[in-house]
Subunit: 133 residues, 2 copies
DNA sequence: ATTGACCTTAAAGCTGACTTTAAGGTTATA
DNA sequence: TATAACCTTAAAGTCAGCTTTAAGGTCAAT
């Protein structure tokens, strides 16, 4: 498989695939003309990268392709997943608070601000005080 | 008030205040020596910027200091807040799915992977398939 | 008079995950 | 044989929201 085909199959741009390789996350064989050659393992590896990203891992947090070949350490992996679970829970709370602030602000504006009127900046900063931020 | 004092009162670095001014979000008077002079309105304005950020608005989405002086348009503000509410709801779902993926992956690993063992890469990509990603 | 803590500007640097550009080599098709 | 559609590299550009740097001016206290 050439890089364009791998791009098609994985849904990831060729430039991105080269970028992952430059970060050490992916290895590639070369054919005689210098083109990169891939197989189904390469596709798996890309899927693993995207999956890990979807869990909140940055590219730098991922083990290099060389390291990954030796298999993964049980305790280390579970520890990191647990860490990400906690991060996700914290993020969830944070976004929830944001949504709450938006909801109360919308309610507040609908109650205190007649349609067609123009809200003076002062009133808005008062609302800001009420929103308790 | 000089910029350092405003920084103290607002909890925002002087460089950030200058940055906000360069983006047109903040205006400043100057004293005879060229130093920026602020008042309590400046503090309000900064609080409004941080509050708007906390609702998910980018700096570019915020009206410039000049525009804001004329007051705000009811329909426009409510429309944008509603937009952000929907964005926040979508984000909330997305993070929730991430947390779910993390939870099922942790469960899956605990069930299928004895402590002290080393997980072969192949097994991990199988789990990836099971995680249905 | 000098030190140190402030202030000024424009411009460059930082983060992460890429994309784009420039300059060129390869291959299949018309 | 020429043209298009691929591929290669290294290096620079993108985004947002800042921070840092460099080179200097101001001011209060010693």
């Amino acid at each position: 498989m050439k890089i364009g085909e791998l791009a098609q199959h994985s849904g990831v741009a060729p430039s991105t695939i080269r970028f992952y390789e430059s970060k050490g996350l992916l290895k590639s064989a070369r054919s005689s003309n210098g083109y990169r050659q891939y197989n189904s393992d390469s596709l798996r590896q890309i899927q693993l990268i995207r999956f890990s990203q979807s869990l909140g891992f940055s590219l730098d947090e991922m083990p290099s392709a060389a390291t990954a070949e030796d298999g993964f350490d049980h305790d280390l992996i579970l520890e990191r997943l647990e860490g990400k679970r906690q991060e996700a829970a914290a993020l969830l709370e944070q976004i929830q608070r944001k949504a709450d602030r938006l909801n109360s602000l919308i309610t507040l504006l609908n109650e205190n601000w007649a349609e067609g009127q123009c809200l003076p900046a002062q009133t808005l900063t008062n609302l800001l005080d009420e929103a308790n931020y």
